[in-house]
Symmetry: C2
Subunit: 605 residues, 2 copies
């Protein structure tokens, strides 16, 4: 584990130097074509680097390949990187002499901050104020593994009241293969952007009149939500969960008791004042409501575990500027559940929860996931509930479960919640988006605060443990994630439209109507392309709409009572009896096949 | 119709006199046993009458039969009712002489209000300030069709700061049969009170910490909600509806546009102020959100009708004193939908909506329903949207549809919404509770306000009509209504627990476990009575819990791979193969049989 980590760190360090050095090389190249350019900042970033310039004569994306060529030339020259330290006043004089007003402004701030020496790096004819580090010489830079990507506007220091600059972005990796893979993923990510697809496929809309971050789910998106929710409901039913429904608002005291108020107040919607009643709040999480259901009845040790599940809607106050599509919203419906169990049931329950995560992610073909175990920190006792016994017990339980499962995980000390350790699931989809899909918290503090008890075999009251879990996260984020992962092509069981009927000509419309009625009666979502467009255009339209199944209906089909079935992701088509098709589709839906992947095996009927 | 109405009014008038006179007769009888009693008010009410007394020596329910007997004696005496008018001052003197301080207080108010003469009624030795009317003599009162019901505390004039009085309630009808029927219904209603059953069957709870009128649906209640919602979803899918999901909050402008603000403000929750953004409100209805979904896309005449459905949760501010179980709540989930259609589709759409109501009510065996058509009023033009053509058109459409259906309905002028005519469904359940189950509104004003359009065949923009409908009302009220209607015994498809397994002894637990796993795998809700109670006690417990199906498992069953099936509402039991039972149950669930009624035919398998 640690060797792996060290290797990762070394690779990161290497990439940092490469990207940082490429930023300097790019600036040198830009100065070749725009000698009066003034330099602002030019840092390495996650996928490469950028540099901001103040230009008298603009550059356009057409100029990028020329700049790239010049960069390759500089790389060939194997210019040495050399670190030069200048006393503060000398540094300013040097920069003023070169007219670098942005750097001068920044260096003056550094000096005010107490710096007495300023670092510079020189390579060939180029010199830049910079802390480094860099590669040894430009010959170490990968001439084929970088690419300039785009030009964008930017403000000096991100302040829209200051000068507008030109930012050039570049990608950079260790080798050509990594660059190509990244570019392909990026192309895919753009093509699959959930806002773009959400709009094209009519999944959701956000209305200015209703408010930012408040998603209106259109009929197509609602089908996907409902399919996901039904799947969760069935999975949870089989795992012994019970569903509850709780109101979205509550009196203030509930959050004072849970500790959300006043500490979490900034993330909550402001209170509503009803006459002289206690203020009411929109709920930022479902836990306290579930605890109230648990507390409404007395429980015996025989009744435990009690697993209360709900797609509960929570409200979080996010700055309107930070809201983005489904990824950051103000109202979110969470695949939430709370498991109330005895200490001796903790291990089995926690294991079952983690197994359910694996089951879901495998189902959705999200094979790239890992876990992170957050532990408390024995030094920082104030940060955590004072219950050493419970900490030791619960951390050991989780660690044992994780080891037993053999899944990849890392441990982090000092990252636990104040009321117990937690396990995060980190999932990555095909376009490379990483998501903390779910946080599983083990909780021994809330039972105390809410005075939750069960009557033990000894006839006395005991405290249950609580597991908080939400393997599918929120509808909003998880569906955004799936839209990208599937490229908008949902499997039949989730697809807004499960079958499109394409009559080869108007003559076969009656036959199509008959099939439509039959399938609808089986609760299958189906429509008919009644347009007078060409057959090929109809097919193309169905493919663009990513409809998982098309039935082509012509003279042959009518005569033999058959349909010709063509799937979205498979080239071959097959002709089969009408009733057979319905049976196939029903089997696929009830087995929830991932038939949007070409290699998925369909159930036999 | 009018003759029927006149007859109803005559009957009501007769009952009013009877009940009013019986109140006087009761007061006379009470004065026989408590000569110092002071009289407060004693009006006729819906099911009889009451009288409030200020007593020096209390009465208890044990005294009621004695008072009843005395009342019968007074009835036998055929005392004449005689109206006496006294000038104001004389009336006060008379009442003061008799020490009737409550009446004195009231008469003084009447005088201040401008009355110069006060009416009294005398029968036999009893005289009471009273406006009448009464029967001619006590011999006209039905000696066998009244009964004293209960004694309760009451405050003088309902003011808890004033004197506490003793109120005696009596029932009274025209004949003994009507009284008995009413008493039976009342007994049933008490036994079936949704709060009592809701508690006994663990359906829902309301927590002081969360707030009044905010229902927490426990697992059993959630099953019922979900079953109802799935039923609506399936019914609506087959009728061409599409589901949407909308946020529970919105910016203020949406309600300014719809006209809910400022007029409806008192019924809304107060606003939330987020920084310097527009205020946000919890939604009091779903319409504007659905309109925003409609407006998010352009629609062609070919796309219409568009039917958007949602179990949307709304929030209404109700005074905390007026909240009652599920019947009056602050957060309610409504079986809502809005149909956007062309004028030429209005008739067919409205008919389909009314047909769906009939379908639902028949399904739930709510055969006692009627409709009420509310029309606009040509005189009161200010009250209504000025669009005579639309009024005439839409009122005619509805009237034609109603006539065509042949269902009982009455027309009321001047009761329409300001934006269009409406049809209310009035439903009555077996315990006699009447409920306006649904209001169907035809709307030609909101399309204007929200600028909703479709592109017609002529290529121009037109306004759609909107139908607002909610045949199942809200989860809260409809489930309360069903709890009473079913007496808590839900049909298998809605029942929280669908099958209880009762092993005759511990020896058969393994067999029970096997069956449980099999049924759960088919998503059937099942449990095992594992207690060591006697067999008969187990059966009684299952019956008290109103579980629709019990399986009795003994030696015979294990040997033959059978189960002995006993239903909640049918005496006979039958033994059948395990797999047969599962098939039966699945067929009952998917057909949604009302197997909680003994005469329901079960599907063949």
């Amino acid at each position: 584990m640690n060797a792996e980590k060290a290797e990762r760190n070394e690779e990161e360090e290497r990439l940092y130097r490469i990207r940082h050095s490429l930023a300097h090389v790019m600036a040198q190249a830009v100065l070749q074509v725009r000698p009066n350019a003034k330099l602002a900042f030019g840092p390495p970033i996650d996928n490469g680097f950028y540099y901001d310039f103040d230009l008298e004569e603009p550059l356009s994306s057409d100029d990028l390949s020329d700049i790239e060529e010049r960069m390759r030339g500089i790389i060939k020259e194997r210019q040495q990187f050399e670190n030069i330290m200048r006393p503060a006043e000398e540094a300013i004089a040097f920069l003023e002499e070169h007219g670098e007003k942005y750097k001068v402004e920044y260096v003056k701030e550094l000096i005010q901050g107490g710096e007495s020496e300023i670092g510079f790096y020189r390579n060939g004819p180029f010199e830049d104020m910079c802390r480094g580090p860099h590669v040894e010489h430009t010959g170490q830079l990968p001439a084929k593994a970088f690419a300039l990507d785009s030009i964008a506007g930017a403000y000096w220091r991100g302040d829209e009241k200051r000068e507008q600059l030109t930012r050039i972005y570049g990608f950079a990796f260790e080798d050509k293969k990594a660059l190509k893979a990244y570019q392909e993923m990026r192309r895919l990510a753009k093509e699959r952007d959930h806002r773009k697809l959400g709009n094209e496929l009519d999944l959701f809309t956000i209305s200015d009149s209703v408010g930012p971050g408040l998603v209106l789910w259109m009929p197509n998106g609602t089908v996907i939500r409902d399919a996901l929710e039904d799947f969760a409901k069935e999975t949870e039913f089989k795992a012994g969960y019970q569903r509850v429904v709780t109101p979205h608002i509550t009196k203030e005291n509930l959050y004072l008791r849970s500790g959300h108020l006043p500490f979490y107040k900034d993330s909550m919607f402001p209170p509503m004042q009803l006459g002289d009643e206690e203020p009411y709040y929109l709920k930022p999480m479902n836990c306290p409501h579930h605890h109230m259901i648990y507390a409404a009845r007395q429980h015996s040790y025989r009744d435990l575990p009690i697993r209360l599940a709900e797609y509960g809607t929570c409200y979080r106050y996010e700055d309107s500027g930070s809201l983005a599509g489904l990824l950051r919203v103000r109202a979110l419906s969470m695949n939430d559940a709370h498991i109330y169990c005895r200490p001796d049931q903790l291990r089995e329950e926690f294991r079952a929860v983690l197994d359910m995560h694996e089951y879901y992610y495998n189902k959705f073909r999200l094979s790239d996931f890992s876990m992170r175990l957050s532990l408390h920190d024995e030094v920082n006792k104030d940060k955590y509930v004072d219950n050493p016994e419970a900490w030791t017990y619960s951390e050991n339980v989780i660690r044992e479960v994780l080891d037993e499962m053999g899944t990849r995980y890392e441990e982090v000390e000092g990252e636990a919640a104040f009321y117990g350790p937690k396990v995060d699931f980190q999932v990555r989809n095909v376009v490379g988006r990483e998501e903390t899909a779910s946080t599983n918290q083990l909780d021994f503090a809330m039972p105390e605060r809410f005075d939750l008890t069960f009557v033990g075999e000894d006839g006395k009251e005991h405290r249950p443990y609580i597991i908080h879990r939400a393997p599918l996260g929120t509808h909003e984020r998880f569906i955004a994630f799936l839209i990208e992962h599937f490229g908008g092509a949902f499997p039949t069981w989730m697809a807004p439209l499960q079958t499109r009927l394409i009559p080869v000509s108007e003559k076969f419309l009656d036959y199509a109507e008959k099939i439509k009625a039959e399938l609808e009666n089986k609760l299958i979502r189906v429509d008919i392309d009644r347009s007078d467009e060409s057959f090929n255009k109809k097919i193309r339209k169905a493919v663009t709409s990513k409809i998982p199944n098309m039935l082509i209906l012509g003279a042959n089909e009518v005569e033999n009572d058959t349909v010709t079935w063509r799937r979205y992701c498979v080239k071959e088509q097959r002709t089969l009896l009408r009733a057979e098709y319905a049976a196939h589709l029903q089997a696929m839906i009830s087995a929830r096949t991932m038939d949007n992947f070409a290699d998925e095996e369909l159930p036999e009927i």
